[in-house]
Symmetry: C2
Subunit: 402 residues, 2 copies
């Protein structure tokens, strides 16, 4: 991606997007808790949702609204997940869309809805109504960072990025904001990511591309292996750059590559801010029979409490990594396994190698470290990002009082 | 099981079994590290092994020896797992069987082998040879408890049980020892269980019964969701009671029920001694479409770090339990879910119930607590036992230095 350029502005970096983040009074802390992201031009829209069988009301409503493949706005509250709230919860999610639609002069079906926070508690809907009206009044072409702050729950910092991508047909921009630090509950902290672009893209290829990119970014991270009931990724494309893209062109490839970069960057930020995490760990599995098996083995390693605690302790404990791959169900050849931790080979052709333990421990201390395991049975590979499992993870999740 | 009676003696409680536990010098600590369990009469034998794709040498050898469905002895060392040790490891496992066979005057194919401890390190085979000879000399009809101690690694206490079961055809006995406290590595702590009975049972029904019972006991527990490369359960039946059993009889049913009780008791002991655990948690899932789905949901709950930390914190955090069931892939009806924590209903028909939070917290403080989740879609159920996730789990696994 040599020509891709980082720019400021998050979701409002692309042309003709405005956003706002306001305090509606949902969070007891008084922190911003209502975000609005709006396209001033009609936009195509794509969405990817949680695979949890329990789905929050805003997920149900947004799925319906996305059916037409178009949207003008995203309204999101933090501090309350509107999940396990029955038919009233569904009515409230629809009302959020309707109130936003009226404030913006668009159709309710053009508004996507997301919520994150405590579950099983009815939304304080009057406050949210007022918050949406206030957010609509506060919309600004510089409002991206404010929206990023307003969707936070237990995040310690907002996650945002924007890039400018030159294409043969002109420059396009992609912006994104995200939140989520683990599946803490009752917050059930929910992974949310909202993406905007001023490229023009038809809704079908947009949806297909988003699904594919999510697989390699937000679905390739894990803090604790849990899946929230509210996880949502939205992408709005309004064409305001004047560049219209479709699969097959060089410009499309540049757009797709840029979207991967934006999503992977946000995804890595989520892991880096994982509950109690002291480091980001990149898990690369190579030599798998299929990409699905590579992903399966990488996720088994990335979710193993034994591997995660070993990284917390800077312990190059290769036995745990091999064990986790072995239990994953992915095909592997024990006698051809190769493993490197923090770049240092520790197993080759299934045999433990002598290695400088202190050097590896020092390399594992860094805020970003990695491992690479070759399963020895094919050519497929996958990368997953995880964080270490620490005392602070236990403290945060054991002491969180309902 | 009204007539079942607890007796002492562990694996040597059944007639014509002897055992020993000695120090062969494999563990630096000088603790006992070599166990021998012997039937003085020919016995049928059954075994269940790890499903990990990486399998230790003793697993490979014992599988071969079990092919004939008969065995006279089990030899087991702790302190070294003989895993990831290549062709030398395989030769060493065969040698352990051969040395034991010679000392006992039986065929090498009649000896089952197990190992547990560090991986990737060659066995100190001369010490093991001498240890086996010493153990054979020390065999005693009261040696069961000594054998239970000699198979421990990081266990804080030996796990053993024996029961006497009256049947219409006479009394039979079942004894068992087990070890394992998590998948700590490089110890990769391995779950081992050795069972003996003086009932006479043909090898085919014995194997079928053992596989079924393991599913409801050792496969129904989880400390950290990891699966060792060495996990092994053996059952030897020597008929010395004079009672010969086969499927269909009342005596068989009594035997099967007794075996379930022995295995569940040992399995619960393993969880209770789980690394850093402060409590045993029984997870019951009911109302599932199939037993497999019930098990799937129960395991997802039992392995969720968020559920496990909530129990450590005595936090009746029902959202995490519902979330874990939702991500498991098991079918469920959100609007019909029922959940009770420590016996107190907290969700009914998908709606959170008001409940006395302090009373539930107090009940969760007990060393044994439970939850019951009804998925609302069928009649199938499953029970899984797990422990809480604590600071000590992180300490033990992060500070274990390779």
């Amino acid at each position: 991606m040599p020509n891709l350029r980082l720019i400021s502005g998050a979701v409002t970096a692309p042309q003709r997007f405005r956003a706002a983040g306001v305090t509606a009074g949902i969070k007891p802390s008084g922190s911003p808790d209502l975000a609005l992201v709006v396209s001033d031009a009609p936009a195509t829209a794509a969405g990817v949702f949680t695979t949890n069988r329990v789905q929050a009301a805003p997920v149900v409503v947004s799925r319906e609204h996305l059916a037409a493949g178009r949207a003008r706005a995203i309204v999101c509250n933090s501090g309350n997940a509107n999940c396990f709230t029955g038919s009233q919860g569904l009515a409230n999610a629809r009302r959020m869309a309707a109130v936003a639609a009226e404030a913006l002069g668009v159709a309710p079906q053009e508004v996507l809805v997301a919520s994150t926070g405590v579950i099983g508690v009815p939304l304080p809907i009057e406050r949210i109504d007022a918050g949406i009206v206030a957010a609509a009044a506060a919309l600004s072409p510089d409002g991206g960072p404010a929206a990023a702050r307003a969707i936070m729950t237990t995040d310690t910092r907002p996650k945002q990025i924007a890039v400018a991508i030159p294409t043969p047909e002109g420059e396009i921009r992609i912006g994104g904001i995200a939140k989520g630090v683990g599946m803490i509950a009752p917050a059930m902290a929910t992974m949310l990511a909202f993406l905007t672009t001023d490229a023009g893209v038809a809704s079908e290829p947009l949806q297909a591309l988003l699904a594919e990119v999510v697989e390699r970014s937000f679905n390739a991270i894990t803090v604790d292996g849990d899946t929230s009931t509210n996880d949502t990724v939205f992408l709005l494309a309004n064409g305001a750059s004047g560049v219209t893209l479709g699969p097959g062109s060089a410009a499309w490839e540049a757009f797709a590559a840029g979207l991967v970069q934006v999503c992977q960057s946000l995804a890595r930020e989520l892991v880096r801010d994982g509950e109690g995490a002291t480091k980001l760990i990149e898990v690369r599995v190579t030599g798998a029979r299929t990409e699905a098996e590579a992903r399966q083995a990488a996720h088994a390693i990335a979710n193993s409490p034994l591997v995660k605690t070993a990284f917390f302790g800077n312990d190059p404990n290769w036995g745990r990594i091999v064990m986790a791959a072995g239990k994953s169900g992915a095909d592997l050849a024990p006698e051809r396994l190769r493993l490197a931790i923090a770049g240092v080979p520790v197993v080759r052709d299934g045999e433990p190698l002598p290695f400088d333990r202190d050097a590896v421990r020092a390399a594992m201390c860094r805020p970003e470290t990695d491992l690479e395991l070759d399963l020895g049975v094919g050519q497929a590979s996958a990368t997953v990002w995880t964080c270490d499992l620490t005392y602070d993870y236990v403290r945060i999740n054991a002491e969180y009082t309902t």
